[in-house]
């Protein structure tokens, strides 16, 4: 194992101001182990007293080689990697991946499976926003937010455990549908959640939205205008808080999002508080989608019956030779995908999560590129923290909602 090298100023000469070279400003290291960097992010700060002059993010402390590892696996087996990519949004990552595979091999999905996908990804969006709300509350010294948010999150994780057997890394969506149908208790569990959750959002808002201490820490900080946001590839709630109405669920509907009635919250202030408000409103909108999708959820199969890509159910294998062959072929060899490249995007809680998937005619992908939203959202941080206090940097960093697994891949 290599030791940590002492980093001299020479390496960062072109990134800091001239005052740093004369020793007038100070360089300070924040992270990789720091309670409010939300993971293992390292920020090299150039400080003039308490004011941030320059901020140089250093990422890669969680680089996992997911892209390369996915290229070494068959299309079915590569899916487990996507769970661990953005670990707050596991269902959403699965959805992005299975949609990319389905687009590449041209596979249809039954309506019930699509409904289930919508319900579960929206619940995951709520869970992800709850973790964000809890941890950013923690960063701003609102400790009780964390406890309340995690209480509701547990309820969502219980639903995931009910349907898939795992709390976080579910791998529940599969190319061509979902793993298996949901158990009968599913509907009651979701209805219970829909019933209590609006009151809980009111509780969160009562604690934070008009709280003068909270407003002091949030208002007018880290203003991001829409032109900068677009140039830096910022997407998701962070972009919508800067006044750009762009939500892939609305503009390029997938999984039948066009049937559901929901609003896309857009604010124009572009500051930390606007980003907070957008996410709080998204909680309510997501809940609306869950309720509608649950009401509309039809009965029927949950997996495509295209046996070239989807393994047959267990009951068929005992009676049909053909099914046995398909099952054997799919799990030993995998299915081939055409020699072509597709780009398929979904709206994750953090923005545009997309896969560029390129097949080479065989059962393994030639290239998997994960276009992860946090990567670009963090890229804009140096632009918006200049001139703010170090304490405000924590609030701004919390408000762009980064997940390091999503950035470093």
């Amino acid at each position: 194992m290599t030791q940590i090298e002492e980093v001299g100023l020479e390496k960062f000469k072109h990134l800091v101001s001239e005052r740093a070279l004369t020793g007038e400003t100070m360089l300070l290291n924040m992270g990789p182990q720091h309670p409010s960097t939300h993971g293992v992010l390292r920020l090299l700060l150039e400080l003039d007293g308490e004011i941030v002059v320059n901020c140089i993010p250093d990422i890669g402390y969680l680089h996992t080689g997911i892209e390369k590892n996915m290229e070494a696996k068959t299309y079915q087996k590569a899916e487990v990697m996507t769970d661990r990519l953005d670990y707050m949004n596991t269902m959403g990552n699965n959805l992005a991946y299975v949609m990319a595979v389905e687009k590449l091999v041209d596979l249809d999905v039954p309506v019930r499976a699509q409904g289930l996908r919508v319900i579960l990804t929206e619940l995951q969006r709520i869970a992800s926003h709850l973790v964000w709300l809890g941890t950013s509350g923690l960063d701003l010294a609102a400790m009780s937010m964390f406890l309340y948010c995690f209480r509701e999150r547990e309820q969502i994780l219980d639903i995931f455990e009910l349907v898939s057997g795992q709390r976080m890394m579910t791998t529940y969506f599969r190319p061509g549908g979902v793993w298996r149908d949901v158990p009968v208790e599913f509907e009651k569990a979701v209805r219970d959640f829909i019933k209590i959750f609006p009151k809980r959002i009111d509780e969160y808002e009562a604690l934070l939205t008009k709280n003068p201490l909270f407003l002091d820490r949030m208002l007018g900080l880290g203003i991001l205008d829409s032109a900068t946001a677009l140039s830096y590839g910022v997407t998701g709630p962070t972009l919508r808080a800067s006044g750009v109405d762009w939500d892939l669920r609305k503009v390029r509907p997938y999984c039948g999002y066009e049937q559901y009635d929901f609003n896309v919250p857009v604010l124009t202030e572009g500051d930390t508080y606007a980003r907070y408000l957008v996410r709080i409103q998204e909680l309510r909108e997501s809940l609306k989608i869950v309720e509608q999708a649950l009401n509309k959820l039809p009965l029927g199969p949950v997996r495509s019956d295209n046996r070239k890509f989807v393994p047959p159910p267990r009951s068929e294998i005992g009676v049909s030779m053909e099914s046995l062959i398909h099952h054997f072929k799919l799990w030993t060899e995998g299915f081939p995908a055409p020699k072509a490249s597709i780009y398929s995007a979904v709206e994750s809680p953090r923005g545009e999560l997309a896969l560029m998937l390129e097949g080479d005619g065989g059962p393994k992908p030639l290239r998997v590129h994960l276009r992860t939203p946090s990567f670009d959202n963090l890229g804009v941080l140096p632009q918006i923290v200049k001139g703010h206090l170090v304490a405000d940097l924590v609030a701004i960093l919390a408000s762009i909602d980064i997940v390091l697994g999503d950035i470093d891949r």
């Binding site: 194992m1 940590i4 680089h63 670990y87 209480r151 547990e154 697994g405």
Partner: protein, 164 residues
């Protein structure tokens, strides 16, 4: 608490010094606030309202390695993070313990590739491995209880030999 029954007429408890030291170490063990990846979220769940690790005297997460006794390596350790992890471990005061939480920290998990250390035991000595991807909060709490058992069984002689 049971101590009252043992007190007797004179209000005196007799025990070994080792027993007292180990008892106090177990009941005020401060873990380091150090999350790497997915398991960190489950570690947070274990701290939060539903699981509440403070029942075992473990609620006080310290952000500084110099104030903590227990390192919970929650997540995968990349090649870039390895040296940093070792430095954090070196900064912790003795005695110190390490829990490798989750499959990635224990053995590399699903990531058998160029970027990830195949087990954090290549970097720091590990006392307890917790399996699962990620482990449930109950599993982490079980790991913590296991480390409590281990600490209760330690003797001064072992320490003396360790730091000779």
């Amino acid at each position: 608490m049971g101590v009252e029954q043992k007190l007797g007429n004179m209000g005196v408890v007799t025990t070994t010094l080792e027993g007292v030291v180990n008892w106090s170490r177990t009941n005020a063990m401060w873990p380091m606030l150090f999350g790497l990846a997915c398991c960190a979220i489950e570690m947070m769940s274990a701290q939060s309202s539903s699981y509440d690790m403070s029942r075992f005297g473990m609620e006080l997460m310290r952000a500084s390695p110099r104030q903590s006794d227990l390192m919970i390596v929650a997540g995968r350790v990349s090649k870039k993070m390895g040296p940093v992890l070792r430095r954090l471990y070196d900064q912790m005061p003795e005695p110190k313990w390490v829990i490798a939480m989750g499959d990635c920290a224990s053995c590399g998990g699903v990531f058998n590739n160029y970027a990830i250390y195949q087990g954090v035991d290549e970097i720091v000595p590990v006392d307890v491995y917790v399996a699962g991807c990620p482990p449930r909060p109950e599993a982490l709490i079980h790991g913590v209880m296991t480390i409590h058992e281990k600490v209760k069984g330690e003797s001064f002689k072992q320490y003396a030999e360790k730091y000779k």
